[in-house]
Amino acid sequence: MAREIAKEFSTEELKEFLEGDLQPTQADPDFQERLREELWAMVQERYGRQRDDRLD
Protein backbone atom coordinates (compact mmCIF):
# COMPACT_ATOMS: atom_id res chain seq x y z
CA MET A 1 0.00 0.00 0.00
CA ALA A 2 2.84 2.37 0.81
CA ARG A 3 4.17 1.90 -2.72
CA GLU A 4 0.76 2.57 -4.19
CA ILE A 5 0.33 5.77 -2.17
CA ALA A 6 3.80 6.89 -3.19
CA LYS A 7 2.80 6.41 -6.84
CA GLU A 8 -0.12 8.83 -6.54
CA PHE A 9 1.28 11.38 -4.07
CA SER A 10 4.49 13.28 -4.00
CA THR A 11 6.03 13.24 -0.54
CA GLU A 12 5.26 16.93 -0.12
CA GLU A 13 1.62 16.42 -1.10
CA LEU A 14 1.15 13.54 1.31
CA LYS A 15 2.85 15.47 4.10
CA GLU A 16 0.68 18.52 3.48
CA PHE A 17 -2.52 16.47 3.34
CA LEU A 18 -1.79 14.64 6.59
CA GLU A 19 -0.61 17.80 8.32
CA GLY A 20 -4.18 19.04 8.03
CA ASP A 21 -4.66 17.05 11.26
CA LEU A 22 -2.29 19.35 13.09
CA GLN A 23 -3.82 22.64 11.99
CA PRO A 24 -6.49 24.42 14.00
CA THR A 25 -9.94 23.84 12.56
CA GLN A 26 -10.68 26.53 10.00
CA ALA A 27 -14.15 25.30 9.22
CA ASP A 28 -17.43 26.59 10.58
CA PRO A 29 -18.55 23.96 13.16
CA ASP A 30 -22.17 24.40 12.03
CA PHE A 31 -21.13 23.51 8.51
CA GLN A 32 -19.16 20.49 9.73
CA GLU A 33 -22.13 19.13 11.67
CA ARG A 34 -24.70 19.92 8.97
CA LEU A 35 -22.58 18.19 6.35
CA ARG A 36 -22.13 15.17 8.63
CA GLU A 37 -25.90 14.89 8.98
CA GLU A 38 -26.48 15.25 5.24
CA LEU A 39 -23.84 12.68 4.38
CA TRP A 40 -25.09 10.20 6.94
CA ALA A 41 -28.63 10.58 5.54
CA MET A 42 -27.21 9.88 2.08
CA VAL A 43 -25.26 6.85 3.30
CA GLN A 44 -28.35 5.41 5.00
CA GLU A 45 -30.39 5.90 1.86
CA ARG A 46 -27.72 4.24 -0.23
CA TYR A 47 -26.53 1.40 1.97
CA GLY A 48 -29.21 1.05 4.63
CA ARG A 49 -28.58 1.15 8.33
CA GLN A 50 -27.53 -1.68 10.63
CA ARG A 51 -29.01 -1.97 14.09
CA ASP A 52 -25.84 -2.77 15.99
CA ASP A 53 -22.97 -0.49 15.08
CA ARG A 54 -20.87 -0.76 18.20
CA LEU A 55 -17.14 -0.20 17.82
CA ASP A 56 -16.20 -3.72 18.90
Binding site: M1, E8, E13, G20, Q26, A27, L35, D53, R54, L55
Partner: protein, 205 residues
Amino acid sequence: MTRPGVGPSGPDGALTTWSDEALFERVCAGSEAHFNILYARYFRRIYAFIYQRVRNHADAEELVQETFTVVFRGAANFGGRSSPLSWIYGVAKNLVLNHLRRSRVQQERIAQAGREPLVSTSPHWSYGPEDQLALRRCAAALDAQIAGLADWQAEAFFLRHAENLPIHEISRRTERSADAVRSGLYRVKRLLVRAGALEPESESP
Protein backbone atom coordinates in the same frame (compact mmCIF):
# COMPACT_ATOMS: atom_id res chain seq x y z
CA MET B 1 -8.95 -6.30 10.31
CA THR B 2 -7.26 -3.64 12.31
CA ARG B 3 -3.95 -1.91 12.05
CA PRO B 4 -2.65 1.30 13.46
CA GLY B 5 -4.61 3.97 11.64
CA VAL B 6 -3.18 7.04 10.03
CA GLY B 7 -5.81 9.30 11.48
CA PRO B 8 -5.52 11.83 14.25
CA SER B 9 -5.22 10.50 17.75
CA GLY B 10 -7.90 11.55 20.18
CA PRO B 11 -9.70 10.60 23.33
CA ASP B 12 -11.58 7.91 21.39
CA GLY B 13 -9.18 5.04 20.88
CA ALA B 14 -11.23 3.82 17.93
CA LEU B 15 -9.94 6.74 15.90
CA THR B 16 -6.49 5.20 15.79
CA THR B 17 -7.17 1.47 15.75
CA TRP B 18 -9.55 1.05 12.79
CA SER B 19 -8.08 1.02 9.31
CA ASP B 20 -9.74 3.12 6.61
CA GLU B 21 -10.61 -0.04 4.67
CA ALA B 22 -12.32 -1.63 7.67
CA LEU B 23 -14.21 1.58 8.38
CA PHE B 24 -15.48 1.78 4.79
CA GLU B 25 -16.69 -1.81 4.97
CA ARG B 26 -18.66 -1.05 8.12
CA VAL B 27 -20.04 2.19 6.70
CA CYS B 28 -21.34 0.29 3.68
CA ALA B 29 -22.96 -2.12 6.14
CA GLY B 30 -24.76 0.89 7.59
CA SER B 31 -22.81 1.70 10.74
CA GLU B 32 -23.11 5.32 11.88
CA ALA B 33 -20.39 4.93 14.52
CA HIS B 34 -17.85 3.92 11.87
CA PHE B 35 -19.11 6.59 9.49
CA ASN B 36 -18.49 9.20 12.22
CA ILE B 37 -14.92 8.00 12.72
CA LEU B 38 -14.13 8.19 9.00
CA TYR B 39 -15.72 11.62 8.72
CA ALA B 40 -13.79 12.93 11.73
CA ARG B 41 -10.55 11.40 10.42
CA TYR B 42 -10.76 13.13 7.06
CA PHE B 43 -12.78 16.31 7.58
CA ARG B 44 -9.94 18.48 8.87
CA ARG B 45 -7.43 17.14 6.34
CA ILE B 46 -9.72 17.74 3.40
CA TYR B 47 -10.87 21.16 4.59
CA ALA B 48 -7.32 22.37 5.23
CA PHE B 49 -6.07 20.99 1.91
CA ILE B 50 -8.87 22.66 -0.06
CA TYR B 51 -8.91 25.95 1.83
CA GLN B 52 -5.16 26.30 1.31
CA ARG B 53 -5.84 26.34 -2.43
CA VAL B 54 -9.07 28.30 -2.83
CA ARG B 55 -8.62 30.74 0.11
CA ASN B 56 -12.35 31.21 0.40
CA HIS B 57 -14.57 29.49 2.97
CA ALA B 58 -17.64 29.46 0.71
CA ASP B 59 -15.78 27.63 -2.04
CA ALA B 60 -13.98 25.41 0.46
CA GLU B 61 -17.30 24.31 1.98
CA GLU B 62 -18.73 23.51 -1.42
CA LEU B 63 -15.67 21.49 -2.44
CA VAL B 64 -15.47 19.64 0.87
CA GLN B 65 -19.13 18.70 0.47
CA GLU B 66 -18.55 17.48 -3.08
CA THR B 67 -15.47 15.50 -2.05
CA PHE B 68 -17.27 13.64 0.74
CA THR B 69 -20.33 13.10 -1.44
CA VAL B 70 -18.24 11.47 -4.17
CA VAL B 71 -16.32 9.42 -1.60
CA PHE B 72 -19.33 8.05 0.26
CA ARG B 73 -21.35 7.48 -2.92
CA GLY B 74 -18.51 5.42 -4.33
CA ALA B 75 -17.56 3.73 -1.07
CA ALA B 76 -19.04 0.38 -2.01
CA ASN B 77 -17.41 0.29 -5.43
CA PHE B 78 -13.87 1.35 -4.82
CA GLY B 79 -13.16 -2.13 -3.37
CA GLY B 80 -9.40 -1.99 -2.99
CA ARG B 81 -8.58 -0.43 -6.36
CA SER B 82 -6.42 1.97 -4.42
CA SER B 83 -5.89 2.89 -0.80
CA PRO B 84 -8.70 5.00 0.67
CA LEU B 85 -6.17 7.69 1.53
CA SER B 86 -4.94 8.11 -2.04
CA TRP B 87 -8.46 7.76 -3.42
CA ILE B 88 -9.89 10.49 -1.15
CA TYR B 89 -6.92 12.73 -1.81
CA GLY B 90 -7.34 12.20 -5.55
CA VAL B 91 -11.02 13.13 -5.43
CA ALA B 92 -10.29 16.33 -3.48
CA LYS B 93 -7.41 17.28 -5.73
CA ASN B 94 -9.40 16.78 -8.95
CA LEU B 95 -12.35 18.77 -7.65
CA VAL B 96 -10.07 21.63 -6.62
CA LEU B 97 -8.33 21.69 -9.99
CA ASN B 98 -11.66 21.72 -11.83
CA HIS B 99 -12.90 24.48 -9.56
CA LEU B 100 -9.82 26.64 -10.15
CA ARG B 101 -10.18 26.11 -13.90
CA ARG B 102 -13.87 27.15 -13.79
CA SER B 103 -13.05 30.17 -11.64
CA ARG B 104 -10.48 31.38 -14.15
CA VAL B 105 -13.04 31.15 -16.96
CA GLN B 106 -15.64 32.92 -14.81
CA GLN B 107 -13.21 35.73 -13.94
CA GLU B 108 -12.47 36.21 -17.63
CA ARG B 109 -16.22 36.45 -18.36
CA ILE B 110 -16.68 38.99 -15.55
CA ALA B 111 -13.76 41.05 -16.83
CA GLN B 112 -15.28 40.94 -20.32
CA ALA B 113 -18.71 42.01 -18.99
CA GLY B 114 -17.07 44.83 -17.03
CA ARG B 115 -15.88 46.38 -20.27
CA GLU B 116 -19.43 46.57 -21.64
CA PRO B 117 -21.62 49.63 -20.86
CA LEU B 118 -24.11 49.10 -18.05
CA VAL B 119 -27.67 50.16 -18.89
CA SER B 120 -30.16 50.31 -16.04
CA THR B 121 -33.47 48.58 -16.66
CA SER B 122 -34.93 49.46 -13.25
CA PRO B 123 -38.07 51.64 -13.06
CA HIS B 124 -37.63 55.07 -11.58
CA TRP B 125 -38.10 55.20 -7.80
CA SER B 126 -38.23 58.21 -5.55
CA TYR B 127 -36.95 57.95 -1.94
CA GLY B 128 -37.00 60.36 0.94
CA PRO B 129 -33.82 61.10 3.01
CA GLU B 130 -34.71 58.54 5.71
CA ASP B 131 -35.33 55.85 3.11
CA GLN B 132 -32.03 56.64 1.45
CA LEU B 133 -30.16 56.43 4.77
CA ALA B 134 -31.80 53.08 5.59
CA LEU B 135 -30.98 51.80 2.11
CA ARG B 136 -27.35 52.87 2.39
CA ARG B 137 -27.03 51.11 5.76
CA CYS B 138 -28.63 47.98 4.38
CA ALA B 139 -26.37 48.09 1.32
CA ALA B 140 -23.27 48.47 3.50
CA ALA B 141 -24.30 45.50 5.67
CA LEU B 142 -25.01 43.45 2.55
CA ASP B 143 -21.65 44.36 1.01
CA ALA B 144 -19.87 43.20 4.15
CA GLN B 145 -21.67 39.85 4.10
CA ILE B 146 -21.54 39.31 0.37
CA ALA B 147 -17.76 39.70 0.38
CA GLY B 148 -17.66 36.17 1.80
CA LEU B 149 -19.61 34.69 -1.09
CA ALA B 150 -18.32 32.96 -4.18
CA ASP B 151 -19.40 34.50 -7.51
CA TRP B 152 -21.35 31.41 -8.52
CA GLN B 153 -23.33 31.47 -5.25
CA ALA B 154 -24.48 35.03 -5.87
CA GLU B 155 -25.39 33.98 -9.40
CA ALA B 156 -27.30 30.93 -8.11
CA PHE B 157 -29.24 33.13 -5.68
CA PHE B 158 -30.17 35.52 -8.47
CA LEU B 159 -31.25 32.68 -10.75
CA ARG B 160 -33.36 31.15 -8.00
CA HIS B 161 -35.02 34.26 -6.61
CA ALA B 162 -35.02 36.74 -9.49
CA GLU B 163 -35.57 34.32 -12.37
CA ASN B 164 -37.38 31.61 -10.36
CA LEU B 165 -35.39 28.84 -11.96
CA PRO B 166 -35.57 25.29 -10.57
CA ILE B 167 -32.55 23.79 -8.81
CA HIS B 168 -31.69 21.43 -11.69
CA GLU B 169 -31.56 24.34 -14.14
CA ILE B 170 -29.36 26.39 -11.79
CA SER B 171 -27.19 23.31 -11.37
CA ARG B 172 -26.80 23.08 -15.14
CA ARG B 173 -26.08 26.78 -15.64
CA THR B 174 -23.55 27.07 -12.83
CA GLU B 175 -22.00 23.64 -13.51
CA ARG B 176 -22.46 22.64 -9.87
CA SER B 177 -24.18 19.63 -8.38
CA ALA B 178 -27.77 20.07 -7.16
CA ASP B 179 -26.50 19.45 -3.61
CA ALA B 180 -23.91 22.18 -4.03
CA VAL B 181 -26.55 24.59 -5.34
CA ARG B 182 -28.83 23.90 -2.36
CA SER B 183 -25.93 24.34 0.02
CA GLY B 184 -24.89 27.57 -1.73
CA LEU B 185 -28.42 28.99 -1.57
CA TYR B 186 -28.55 28.12 2.11
CA ARG B 187 -25.28 29.95 2.67
CA VAL B 188 -26.47 33.09 0.85
CA LYS B 189 -29.66 33.15 2.89
CA ARG B 190 -27.70 32.73 6.10
CA LEU B 191 -25.54 35.73 5.16
CA LEU B 192 -28.58 37.81 4.24
CA VAL B 193 -30.17 37.01 7.58
CA ARG B 194 -26.98 38.09 9.34
CA ALA B 195 -27.03 41.35 7.35
CA GLY B 196 -30.63 41.92 8.43
CA ALA B 197 -31.94 41.74 4.88
CA LEU B 198 -34.05 38.63 5.55
CA GLU B 199 -36.15 37.43 8.45
CA PRO B 200 -34.64 34.43 10.27
CA GLU B 201 -37.69 32.22 9.63
CA SER B 202 -37.06 32.36 5.88
CA GLU B 203 -33.50 31.08 6.29
CA SER B 204 -34.15 27.48 5.30
CA PRO B 205 -33.17 26.68 1.68
